[in-house]
């Protein structure tokens, strides 16, 4: 065999090996998606979006309270996670220097690695224990704290991506540092920051563990913000481990709905991001 043939042979072997692994990875994802879509789609009906859960033994019913509950939990999470993460990121990228931002960055990365169940315990101790009962707010706090690290680091990264020449340009026109940051630098990075926040939200939307002992669950409507509430991930958990066939179907449907929502948010975020990078 000549050297050239050998080289071509190795190249072909490596190419097929990498191709095989790619197909393997993609196929795992698609099998999960297809299985979920098949089982979930079959069980999905209009009642799912409009009715409360049916009592055990009765068939039918839906999860409208869990869908609304997830929405409320995420709203609280956004109120806590986005402003904190955003302003913290602005501080790190634009104002901080010395050992303090280093410390913050390190702490943030550690916080990002904290298991979600620990976040749940934290929210339990801080909110549930003090208030004396489970609530939407407690669940929202757990999810909101989980959002902070990524919100903060994406803000920081996208602000770092804004060329220094823009900062100089604004300051040379007599703008103060904070004016420069909020009227030129942040707007220049806004699309990226927004898409990062959306991905962050999509990530915590599927969290179950921290909700188990904060928002708890609720087969009925949850009034206001201080009562326990149902949420899609917890409903999936409860229904999937139940012995009832009808509940299993509903769990599949809930999984499918949750996945579709997360996917929609992801796609929207990517679109915003591609718009951001194309006009630069």
């Amino acid at each position: 065999m000549t050297r050239g043939q050998w080289r071509k042979g190795v190249n072909a072997a490596m190419l097929s090996l990498t191709g095989l692994c790619t197909i393997l990875v993609a196929s795992v994802l698609f099998v999960i998606l297809a299985y979920l879509a098949w089982n979930g789609g079959r069980s999905l009906n209009w009642d799912f979006f409009t009715k409360l859960p049916a009592p055990v033994g009765e068939s039918g019913g839906g999860m409208v309270n869990a869908i609304v509950g997830s929405g409320k939990l995420l709203a609280v999470a956004v109120l806590i996670g986005v402003p904190t993460g955003f302003l913290g990121g602005v501080y790190l990228a634009e104002f901080g220097h010395g050992w303090f931002p280093y410390l913050v960055r390190y702490a943030t990365d550690l916080l990002n690695g904290v298991p979600s169940i620990v976040m749940g315990i934290f929210a339990y101790a801080m909110v549930v224990h003090r208030m004396g009962h489970f609530s939407t707010v407690a669940g929202g706090v757990a999810l909101g704290v989980m959002m902070i690290p990524i919100a903060l680091r994406t803000t920081e990264e996208f602000l770092h991506g804004v060329p220094g020449s823009l900062r100089e340009g604004a300051m040379a026109l007599g703008a103060s540092k904070s004016r420069t940051v909020f009227t030129v630098v942040v707007p220049a990075a806004l699309d990226g920051i927004v898409s990062g926040m959306m991905l962050d939200l999509a990530r915590v939307a599927g969290e179950t563990a921290p909700l188990l002992f904060t928002a708890l669950g609720n087969p009925f409507w949850s009034k206001g913000w201080l009562e326990p509430t149902a949420s899609l991930p917890v409903m999936i958990y409860t229904y999937a481990i139940s012995p009832y066939e009808d509940w299993h179907r509903q769990a599949w449907a809930a999984g499918f709905v949750l996945l579709s929502l997360v996917l929609a948010v992801n796609v929207a975020a990517r679109l915003i991001l591609s718009r951001a990078t194309s006009h630069r």
Partner: protein, 272 residues
């Protein structure tokens, strides 16, 4: 603006100029100005006088300190950590280093090496400085924007798309937009840091014409790598080498009869 001073290097009588030059006042003056990046001394005691309504060019090889000098004049260099200024800078005899930095930059505008339009509309770019400094109400803002774009010779090219993104303009147009943006707040001095180095010859020629037309209205200091450019546009030229001002004189003299050997070597292309 009370003292009438002659520049340090007394200019020779004008030669080959069509209109006679009236006496001009010193606008900006530096005295023994040194600049440090950390422990590195980038400028060694530069003393220089810049005359009002004249174009002053600063030339020299890369790393000679000409940009550092320019960026000290509006204190934009302050944003670099661990940097330090020594000496004195005066603007109309007022101490620049003690002045409120916002007020200083309102009077001393700057255009950078690479066009740096904000990712906003053309209108909002030009209006930015006016808004930040609260110089005009909404109605007169339009007039200011139009006048500034006229002064930067860009109006005819953008008048129908004022609300389009500034990033859609060509490089040369973007640089003129940056000049319009700087002119919108009516600066007394305009600093230009190699404004044409990222542009093609046609765009460069437009900017040079523009500088010529602007010099009745403000004092211009331009850093350039391009000696022909200095020769074409500047009334006075300063030559920097290794952080020192080697020679400063009328442009004709600098290019025809420089008194220092280093200047002559650089201008004739023997190094740099």
């Amino acid at each position: 603006m009370t003292s009438v001073t002659t520049p340090m290097f007394t200019p020779a009588p004008p030669t080959g100029e069509s209109k006679p030059r009236e006496h001009s006042e010193v606008k900006l003056r530096t005295e023994d100005l040194s600049f440090y990046y950390g422990s590195f001394k980038a400028l060694h005691g530069v003393t220089l006088e810049i005359l009002e309504r004249r174009i002053t060019a600063l030339i020299g090889p890369s790393g000679c300190g000409k940009s550092t000098f320019l960026r000290a004049l509006n204190r934009i260099s302050e944003s670099i950590r661990n940097s330090r200024i020594e000496g004195r800078i005066t603007l109309d005899d007022a101490d620049v280093l003690k002045m409120d930095v916002t007020a200083l930059r309102r009077r001393v505008g700057m255009v950078f090496q690479r066009p740096n339009p904000f990712p906003k509309s053309i209108f909002d770019n030009v209006a930015y400085g006016v808004r930040v400094n609260g110089l005009a109400d909404q109605r007169s803002l339009k007039e200011v924007v139009e006048r500034s774009l006229h002064r930067a010779a860009l109006w005819d090219e953008v008048k129908d798309k004022l609300h389009d993104s500034a990033l859609a303009l060509s490089g040369g147009q973007q640089q003129r937009l940056c000049i319009a943006r700087a002119l919108a707040i009516d600066p007394e001095v305009l600093l230009l840091d190699e404004p044409c180095s990222a542009l093609d010859p046609i765009a460069t020629a437009k900017i040079e014409d523009l500088l010529f037309n602007l010099k009745d209205q403000c004092t211009i200091v331009i850093v350039t790598h391009n000696m022909q450019q200095a020769a074409r546009v500047a009334d006075f030229t300063g030559f920097f080498l290794m952080g020192k001002l080697i020679e400063f004189d009328r442009t004709e003299i600098m290019f025809k009869k420089p008194s220092k050997k280093e200047t002559e070597d650089y201008i004739t292309g023997r190094f740099g």
